[in-house]
């Protein structure tokens, strides 16, 4: 038990170091990138005097070390700063955008897993058959389809053509929760399909490995039925790489939602980052990337913890 505790502590320390690095690197990259938030805010007609006046008002004329010091102190106080462009705290801006991104990620992963697990398992079991060949081909195609392109196709077919789902946005004032969710169907399908390809391929490969193991052959020899062999013996042991790839997919989805949210005009975290970069809204870029990095690190941590649960060998 102490060894597990020490392992946990070591990983938590590693996480803190990664986050400190992210804070510094993001701060520096944002400052080194040319482009001035004041100039962007004031538009193409702004004079240098206007820009200088706004920079001073926003505190952007302070030396870079002073700005870094303020930024780190604010983070330690749990304050991610104030958005230059939106005129609200970064935490408020992020909280307002967490809902669509959270549900988009959740639905996408549910769609991806519900396609990938059965198809991947079947493909492994029916290795070499026509079905398997179709699955292998289809996953290659799906993995290479850009999600924004798929998004536009889905919009044209199901929003414009059939009128089943809204084409974009996240509802107007007072839109009920379930109605807001309807805006997520098409983007979730677009992201889910692209991600299902990766998980399907991993599931298939992991199952193929396990199916050739001695204990599976033994189980079969002892007369266990095909479904019992696959679900009880093979799948349980194939789960570790599958969990890894699902965890990785969730993390990628948080980042991958960027493009999809832009195409579907979803006011989510990904869209916030894209707009913040175009607007050079430094506090939002820094704060959002820090939170996304923290989520990424936490997901990795959670995957590690799942290993400990699923596979006792990892504990030693």
């Amino acid at each position: 038990m102490p060894r597990v505790f020490m392992a946990l502590l070591k990983r938590a320390g590693g996480m803190a170091v990664v986050l400190a690095l992210v804070v510094t690197v993001v701060f520096l990259i944002v400052r080194v990138t040319p482009g001035d938030p004041a100039a962007v805010m004031l538009g193409s007609d702004a004079t240098p005097e206007d820009i200088a006046a706004l920079r001073a008002r926003l505190g952007l004329d302070a030396p870079i070390l002073v700005q870094y010091g303020r930024f780190v102190l604010d983070i330690l106080r749990g304050d991610l700063g104030q958005s230059i462009f939106l005129g609200q705290p970064v935490t408020t801006a992020l909280a307002a955008r967490a809902e669509p991104t959270f549900f988009l990620t959740l639905f996408s992963i549910l769609i991806a897993v519900s396609i990938a697990l059965p198809v991947g398992i079947l493909s492994a079991v029916k290795r070499g058959t026509l079905f398997d060949q179709i699955v292998v081909g289809a996953t290659m195609v799906a993995a290479s389809v850009p999600s924004f392109w798929l998004g536009l196709i889905l919009i044209q077919t199901f929003a414009v053509g059939l009128g089943w789902f809204p084409a974009s946005g996240y509802g107007g004032p007072g839109t009920p929760f379930l109605e807001r969710l309807s805006h997520l169907v098409l983007p979730a399908v677009a992201l889910g399909i692209v991600n299902s390809a990766l998980i399907t391929r991993f599931t298939r490969a992991a199952m193929l490995d396990v199916l050739s193991e001695d204990y599976v052959r033994t189980a079969r020899a002892k007369g266990a039925g095909p479904s019992r062999v696959i679900l009880k013996h093979a799948l349980k042991n194939a789960m570790i790489p599958i969990i890894t790839v699902i965890g990785l997919s969730v993390a990628l989805l948080v980042a991958g939602a960027v493009v999809t949210e832009t195409v579907f005009g979803l006011p989510g975290v990904g869209n916030l980052v894209v707009q913040a970069v175009l607007r050079r809204d430094y506090p939002v870029i820094q704060g959002t990337l820090l939170v996304v990095a923290a989520i990424y690190v936490l997901i990795n941590f959670a995957v590690d913890m799942l290993y400990l649960t699923v596979d006792p060998r990892v504990r030693t």
Binding site: G35, P37, P48, F107, I111, Q156, G169, G172, G265, Q275
Partner: protein
């Protein structure tokens, strides 16, 4: 298995609710407008950009406002001002019975406080502050503006980005967005929507509607401005019935919108003009003959065709204001032509051009800037210039262009509204740093002019000087494409799309 069932259930649930979503957006006195993005602020004095003006013009009102010829007409002012004989005192009568959205009465104290704030924080206001001696109340229903020198564009500058707000809201950062306009702010959720609702106690100015002037009626109960930064999504959302109006569509979408059946394309003519602005402070183009060589080397028709691909969306015209505008004149535009490499080469020889590359800054964020830059490069190279085309994003361009040592030409665009003094290049400190004795004299003559005839003649002088000094190359005028849902009535194309006097779909 349970997970899969859950997913299937959620999908079914979501599919079931989507019909409701579309039905509710479709009518009920709401106008949903897809804009190119989120406004950086609703404080239009601080940030007078197009997207901010488009939204806030429904909330705030100014003393004067532009009519169809872009001439100022009374809005919160009751009439045109009484101007003293020396041209230094303007007495502006105010409309009576007007109230703000918070119920307080509009009076001269609000005008004085608002214009004082405008002169502190607005770029145009700061310029005007140099000529304004005082702004004082003359009773509750008039203000007197005293100038220290004549300033003929005064009313034009009071027509844009200088709204009148209740004096009580004006201390420090603007947090309450209260105006006298036909709509009041109900709710703003950044990157999601800005919701305006009808102001029931609105008192409209009189007169037939003419551009932004004249009678205003809030027919729709609500206007919702929805930021949709992706242009294709604006097109698809419009056709799918989600928006009543979609702004700034790509010109390539014209046929698709026209063929859709449930929507119609809306062309707003002369939305703006493209220009190549030259660096007159550092680098090879400080030489006037070389700037003139750039002018004659370029072919505006080819640049505009490359940028807008279809002649319905642009016009090639050297005049700095298009036809139909009060300020339209051909004075001095002789050097605007079809691209003459030989004449350019002669000017380059006269200037002793040494082959130093001309650095052109352009951006892909505005696709037409980039296309213009590519064609310009080809024509300049044909004339014998070495050209270094630098393609950056817009935010980078605005930073670089502020540095005199980093560029020779940058490509930009501007709108036409207002007064000639709103041209950037008139401002000495605008990147390009255009100053000359001839320009100063021409601008001074304009500022001193009183009657419209005198002002027009003075403007002809400014345009001629600009062509002679060549601080920029005007490329051409372009039109903007929007899309309107069938059934929406009363919409008139406008530079800043406006939705009073507009009835939603039934």
């Amino acid at each position: 298995m349970k997970r899969m069932l859950l997913a299937a259930g959620l999908a079914a649930l979501m599919a079931g609710t989507s019909g409701i979503a579309l039905a509710q957006t479709a009518g009920g006195g709401v106008l949903t407008v897809a804009t190119i993005g989120e406004p950086p602020s609703l404080d239009v004095m601080q940030t007078p950009t197009d997207i901010v003006l488009t939204i806030t013009q429904h909330i705030f009102e100014t003393l004067y406002i532009y009519d169809a010829e872009w001439q100022p007409q009374p809005l919160l002012a009751a009439d045109m001002p009484e101007i003293s004989e020396d041209g230094l005192t303007y007495r502006i009568p105010l409309r009576e019975g007007v109230t703000f959205h918070d119920g307080s009465a509009f009076d001269s104290a609000d005008v004085v406080a608002s214009l004082n704030r405008w002169m502190e924080i607005n770029s145009k206001g700061r310029q005007v502050a140099e000529v304004i001696e005082t702004i004082e109340a003359d009773g509750d229903n008039a203000v007197v503006v005293t100038l220290n020198s004549r300033y003929s564009p005064l009313l034009a500058t009071f027509s844009q980005g200088s709204p009148i707000l209740p004096s009580e809201t004006l201390g420090g950062e603007l947090t309450d967005f209260i105006g006298t306009g036909p709509y009041r702010l109900q709710e703003r959720r950044p990157d999601q929507y800005t919701q305006l609702v009808r102001f029931e106690d609105y008192v409209s100015p009189e007169g037939e509607p003419s551009n932004y002037a004249g009678r205003r009626e809030a027919i729709a109960d609500e206007i919702r401005f929805v930021p949709v930064p992706d242009a294709n999504t604006r097109v698809e959302g419009l056709i799918a019935g989600q928006y009543d109006y979609a702004d700034s569509l790509p010109v390539s979408a014209y046929e698709r919108v026209e063929a859709a059946g449930n929507v119609e394309p809306v062309i707003f003519e002369n939305a703006g003009w493209t220009s190549l602005n030259m660096n007159m402070a550092e680098g090879p183009l400080t030489d006037k003959a070389l700037r003139q060589a750039v002018q004659v080397a370029l072919n505006p028709s080819d640049m505009m065709l490359a940028a807008f691909s279809d002649e319905r969306f642009f016009a090639v015209d050297g005049a700095l204001f298009p036809e139909g505008f009060f300020w339209h004149t051909q004075a001095g535009v002789e050097r605007y032509g079809e691209g003459d490499p030989e004449a350019a080469a002669a000017l380059m020889e006269e200037a002793g051009y040494d082959g130093t590359p001309i650095r052109i800054l352009t951006s892909r964020q505005y696709g037409f800037h980039y296309s213009t830059g590519e064609v310009a490069k080809a024509y300049l190279e044909a004339a014998g210039f070495a050209v270094d085309l630098q393609v950056v994003d817009w935010a980078t361009l605005t930073t670089r262009r502020a540095d005199k040592g980093q560029w020779d030409i940058f490509i930009t665009h501007s709108n036409f509204p207002g007064d000639p003094t709103t041209l950037n290049t008139i401002t000495d400190t605008y990147p390009g740093w255009y100053t000359s004795e001839a320009k100063s004299q021409a601008v001074a003559a304009f500022m001193n002019a009183v009657t419209n005839e005198e002002r027009f003649t003075a403007w002809e002088g400014i345009q001629s000087v600009i062509y002679e000094d060549a601080p920029l190359v005007k490329v051409g005028n372009f039109n903007a494409l929007g899309g309107l849902a069938s059934g929406v009535s009363g919409y008139e194309p406008a530079y800043w799309p406006r939705f009073w006097n507009v009835a939603p779909r039934g």
